[in-house]
């Protein structure tokens, strides 16, 4: 019979005739799928929250630092060489997978506003810096590319410097501050970020155009760092490789010679996040595989019993004209429908379980729809796989013997 809906109906009727048994048979799959959904929900919820905290440090940040200089045998640390230029940064900005680049010229100095002065870190950066650090403005605006081109005397203040230089609560925007005796106009203030994960006060900073820093303060043509933002987390590793290759070309470093720069990222945190994710996924795969296989064996077991118990019925179906292929399809459909129903019920149970975990443990959860579909599809597959042998057994029965079976 080619009529699939007919076979589907037959299978459904057979399952409905044995409601309790069908439910019990499904139970293994239900529990397996529910476990998968809950674990995935917790796992991906955890990953999202880790990702969020990484993003707060500056999304997908890669830092290029100059290498060390060696004088009379003593090697300086990283950053002691003066090799990185803004032109390097512009070249990096052209690479695929790079969304933004900002040079950074760091100067530790005293700044003065009226009667107040304060020791702080002045950093010369590009306007892209606020994007790279995901650092929004509290007031005013960030300086522009024109300011960079003109080496304009404009500055953006971190909140610590705002409170130290303007303790009486004046609006700093429009005020003038002195950096190493050079007057700069404050054009904006940054929102407070608080302490970094290393304990330094991120708000204790003044940002000025990197051109102004180089031309008016340091008098150098090199920068302390290049900050590079990759478009996505996955791009970090390839971008690092590309940056290294590019700078080796630009700096004419022969193969096998040490680089005069170093490319780093928030590797430790990213690695921790991805290893947590990998462990979680491994665990998931284990839970999923074990419980679904156990569920599948349950289905196979019950189907075997069912085939034996229904031997006479199979004999009758054959004698009234069912081909053995039709019998095979019918029993296979029964197993598949059982397993798929188990999958659907498991997903529902998984949603409920996830909701309870989220409510009781205040744990961030997220149920990826792909996993829901995958769970149901995989359940159906388990049904087909474990239903095949019993179905084959049913289809292979001899109708005469099957009819005589007591």
């Amino acid at each position: 019979m080619s009529d699939f809906t007919g076979i589907f109906r037959l299978a459904l009727q057979a399952l409905i005739r044995n409601k309790v048994r069908s439910m019990l048979t499904m139970l293994g799959i239900v529990i397996g799928v529910a476990a998968v959904i809950v674990t995935v929900a917790i796992g991906s919820g955890a990953r999202v929250s880790v990702q969020q905290s990484i993003n707060s440090l500056g999304s997908n940040l890669i830092v290029v630092q100059p290498g060390s200089v060696t004088s009379t045998g003593a090697r300086g640390g990283f950053g002691t060489a003066s090799t990185l230029t803004p032109a390097d940064g512009m070249a990096i900005a052209q690479l695929p997978g790079v969304s933004a680049v900002s040079p950074a010229v760091t100067i530790r100095t005293q700044i003065v506003a009226g009667d107040n002065n304060w020791q702080t870190t002045v950093t010369g950066v590009a306007p892209t810096y606020s994007f790279i650090r995901s650092w929004p403005m509290a007031s005013g605006s960030f300086f522009t590319q024109n300011d960079v081109n003109d080496a304009a005397k404009v500055a953006v203040l971190g909140q610590t410097d705002v409170s130290e230089l303007f303790p009486n609560g004046q609006n700093p925007v429009g005020q003038t501050i002195l950096i190493k005796g050079v007057p700069f106009t404050v054009v904006g203030t940054l929102t407070a970020l608080g302490q970094s994960s290393l304990g330094t006060d991120q708000d204790d900073t003044v940002l000025i155009p990197y051109t102004s820093a180089m031309q008016r303060i340091t008098g150098q043509t090199t920068v302390s760092q290049l900050m590079v933002s990759a478009t996505t987390g996955d791009e970090i590793a390839p971008v690092q490789t590309e940056v290294t290759t590019l700078l080796e070309q630009r700096h004419a470093i022969a193969a096998g010679r040490p680089d005069d720069f170093q490319v780093r990222n928030l590797q430790s945190i990213a690695a921790a996040a991805s290893s947590t994710g990998a462990v979680m996924e491994f665990l998931l795969a284990g839970v999923a595989a074990v419980s679904l296989i156990v569920g599948g064996i349950g289905i196979m077991n019950i189907m075997m019993v069912s085939v034996t118990e229904r031997t006479r019925e199979i004999g009758l179906r054959m004698s009234v004209g069912a081909r053995s292929a039709t019998i095979l399809r019918q029993f296979l459909t029964e197993a598949t429908v059982l397993a798929a129903c188990g999958g659907v019920i498991g997903v529902i149970a998984g949603f409920i379980g996830t909701f309870i975990v989220a409510a009781l443990a205040k744990w961030p959860t997220q149920i990826p729809i792909a996993w829901v579909l995958f769970s149901i599809a995989f359940s159906a597959l388990v049904g087909i796989f474990f239903g095949y042998y019993p179905a084959k057994k049913a289809a292979g029965l001899n109708p005469i013997e099957a009819l005589r079976f007591e």
Partner: protein
């Protein structure tokens, strides 16, 4: 041959014609000869009872006639076609279209309504659902169980269940109904009722029926009685011929 002659030839074809039909089962080293060369014809409209003690080969004969099994040797022509060497699927297709079965144990699906039981052969024959219900109701009416359509087998008496089973055997308008000890599980009165239904189907609808039984009382309802012993036909008695 003229077309008219071909049609006449077709019409006069026996439903069942077996020639030198043999069936041998091997049991380990020894062989059991169930059918030792049977020659027999069953014509359309006949009501034939196959009798014989157990081991006589009557059940084997019914299985081969019902296309549940192939003969070891010899030929079986069903409605003019040689079906002695068909494979399982081809035999299933003929069973689905041209044969009806009635068993001693009724063999109705449990926890399934009488109507659905009667519809079952049509599901495998691919008859559309609406058509199935219509035909099933019609056949259940013929055997007098239309009012039991929604009953499950465990809510019916043995006689009622067997009537439902007879309705099931009718739904494909079979060329031959094979009834294997259809009254074996019934009391005398119910047996008479069931046999009366078979007689009516034969006399009023012209349906060809082959009945397998070891009870002479039951066989007496048939028009022709063939007796098997040790794989041979030992008597073939046609009441209609005797009457004529």
């Amino acid at each position: 041959m003229l077309v008219e002659e071909q049609i006449v030839e077709q019409l006069s074809q026996p439903v069942v014609r077996v020639e030198g039909l043999r069936k041998v089962y091997s049991l380990g080293d020894s062989e059991v000869i169930a059918l030792a060369g049977i020659d027999l014809e069953i014509r359309a409209g006949e009501f034939i009872a196959v009798m014989g003690p157990s081991g006589s080969g009557k059940s084997t004969f019914m299985q081969i006639t019902g296309l549940l099994d192939n003969p070891t040797d010899g030929h079986y022509y069903f409605e003019g076609t040689d079906v002695s060497r068909l494979d399982g699927d081809a035999r299933a297709d003929i069973r689905s279209r041209r044969l009806g079965f009635v068993f001693q144990a009724y063999n109705l699906l449990p926890r399934t309504s009488a109507l659905e039981n009667v519809e079952l052969p049509m599901v495998y024959a691919g008859v559309p659902a609406a058509e199935r219900a219509r035909i099933a109701h019609e056949k259940m009416g013929i055997v007098g169980v239309a009012h039991l359509a929604q009953h499950h087998p465990n809510q019916m008496s043995g006689g009622q269940q067997q009537r439902v089973a007879i309705a099931r055997s009718l739904v494909n308008n079979p060329g031959l109904i094979l009834a294997d000890e259809p009254t074996g599980a019934l009391d005398t009165k119910t047996s008479e009722d069931v046999m009366r239904i078979f007689r009516e189907l034969n006399e009023q609808q012209g349906i060809t029926i082959m009945l397998v039984t070891h009870e002479p009382d039951i066989a007496a309802h048939a028009k022709r009685i063939v007796t098997f012993r040790d794989g041979h036909v030992v008597s073939d008695h046609d009441k209609t011929e005797v009457a004529a």
